[in-house]
Symmetry: C2
Subunit: 344 residues, 2 copies
DNA sequence: TTGTACGCGTTATCAT
DNA sequence: ATGATAACGCGTACAA
């Protein structure tokens, strides 16, 4: 550990610590050359800890996500990282879908970071008071808590995305449309369910209870949910799956059961994936720019920080987009009808 | 900003700051109850910055990776995070494959973190001096630099994995076996190429120059490389692709060109992927436990830290495994020969 | 057990 | 432009 301090440099050059400090801050001092050399020779590095104590800021911004191995969150993090700038860094907290870890980590963030960008696990954290008295600037990304209005946020138009997805299936002639949703306690879980229901309602299709499964955004959850749907007396002809991991799980289930997509069942997912084109068949999805969400969140945070925390909360919304590939088709019934017509 | 300090708490309770400090450190003091209440009432949070300055440690460990959106590195990070323990956190640096960013970030780490776990961009950093003068404990993960022996590391048996992959193709009857490799300046790039060549040599197959393409571990790189291979006069009948992203790219290329796998060409990748089973056909790969690599690296770092940095470097190696799925088959020639035999 | 007082490495203020 | 010095918030040796 290089334990050489500013005092050592000062002594070595023969000036006071104040002069060295000023040199480091960019002021013009007399012995610039000698100081420069001394710093290199002694291999002096300013202590970040001391600077933090003095300045009250750390130059570190935390980003809290439920699961970094989810490509969606990885992209958010990457976006945030890309926008963090030269003199700041990011502290990553992976809560692993554990509320306990989330709370614990949050409390550890004090004094370590200047602000936190977070995708909270659920909307009902510890009630409105928690984040209000949290004391650290917060920007929510992808998800908010109950009192999310009080803080800046960068969300997706979840309801719109879900609506588009469901509408797309309806327009293909599907009527028995199921949804594998996320936890209704989360922002995307709730809003996407809303969008699904509103689309059905708009087309006068009654939403059947057994066609909506509240799952958990995990691959295993998607697998289980799809299995349940297949066991229905009247299985759906199309399924809207509310996130990428569950979509993978659902596809696995279909593959294991030998159900062919889109011949026997149509699938549309939420969130694009690197490999969505490569699966069989290529996956039709609702896509959005996760990287952009991350960078916007960071921009908001930095703006807030540089304004001395005096900015009112801003709410940004990233758009969604239907990416048509091959996992959706006309329902079987329609196909049969057509065939029949042709046969006669 | 919670600007309430230990002094405020002390005043509020009517004791000295030392007593509060002792209470916080777990010593038994007289007014525990009153102190507890005061802390909650005032919403006091110890300043991490002040503690850092006092103790000389930050409780933060940096993890430096080239690309967090690569599922492999995401898993490494997750593994490291899972092993970090209660009282430490991780600082993520995503170098985005930029050497400049890597260096810059590294220099910023000083004093902010207690140690750094890193997957360096290339083996030829600035030579041994760079990391030695860095002054921070280092554990290499997945990749090392030239003087990597001096620091602990957690690698994969790259050569073995590549050897197995190539051998597997040979055992299926392939002779025209190409490899899309990573940069030879990186540990995995070099070792995997070694394994490929050794396997060919062992079977007496001469390695043709045009069958080895040094690419860059990116999806685009894999795409381009595969295109080049397809344009060869005598295209290979099988390709070993040295990482996951390039495999995705290669598959895209094959799909765009209408080349069917495994009928026309066999593909084996390095690193498993969530969706490897779902692509068409399911992907055969060399797999390893990336999460384990991450957690082992963290374990090594913590061990080093808790021994006061007095431990000699340890080198750990995570095993590889062949996961047979459906992307490899007998070469076409063999198929034809067989057909001929049957026909006659 | 408790309180006093000093030091951790920097930066900012105030004279000079 | 420079130097001495007081903070920043906390931990701890020392004395009580």
């Amino acid at each position: 550990m290089s334990t050489v301090t500013i005092t050592d440099v000062a002594k070595h050059v023969g000036v006071s610590v104040a002069t060295i400090s000023r040199y480091l801050s960019g002021f013009t001092v007399r012995n610039e050359e000698k100081i420069r050399e001394a710093i290199i020779e002694l291999n002096y590095r300013p202590s970040a800890a001391a600077r933090n104590l003095k300045s009250g800021r750390t130059g570190i911004i935390a980003i809290v996500v439920p699961d970094i191995t989810n490509p969606f969150f990885a992209s958010i993090v990457e976006g945030a990282e890309s926008a963090v700038g030269e003199d700041r860094m990011i502290l990553l907290v992976n809560t692993g879908d554990s509320r306990e870890r989330e709370e614990k980590a949050l409390s550890q963030l004090f004094g370590r970071v200047d602000g936190v960008i977070m995708a909270p696990l659920t909307e009902d954290e510890q009630g409105p008071s928690f984040f209000s008295q949290f004391g650290l600037p917060i920007v929510f990304v992808d998800r908010v808590t109950k009192d999310g209005e009080k803080f800046s946020s960068v969300l997706t138009d979840n309801a719109k995305g879900a609506h588009i997805a469901t509408d797309y299936l309806i327009s293909q002639g599907h009527r028995k449309i199921a949804m594998i949703g996320g936890p209704l306690s989360t922002t995307p879980g709730k809003r996407r369910a809303d969008g699904y229901r509103s689309a059905l309602a708009k087309s006068g299709i009654s939403s059947q209870v057994e066609y909506f499964i509240e799952s958990d955004f995990s691959e295993a959850g998607g697998y289980a949910a799809m299995c349940r749907l297949l066991e229905e007396e009247a299985p759906p002809t199309a399924v809207f799956v509310a996130n990428n991991l569950m979509t993978i799980g659902a596809l696995h289930a279909l593959r294991d059961r030998g159900v062919s997509v889109p011949q026997e069942i149509s699938i549309i997912g939420f969130d694009d994936l690197e490999f969505a084109e490569l699966v069989n068949p290529p996956l039709t999805v609702i896509a959005r720019d996760a990287r952009l969400q991350g960078s916007q969140a960071m921009d908001l945070m930095i703006k807030h920080l540089e304004n001395g925390g005096a900015t009112p909360p801003e709410h940004s919304m990233v758009d969604v987009q239907l990416v048509e590939r091959g996992s959706c088709a006309l329902p079987r019934e329609s196909q049969k009808i057509r065939s029949n017509k042709i046969d006669h």
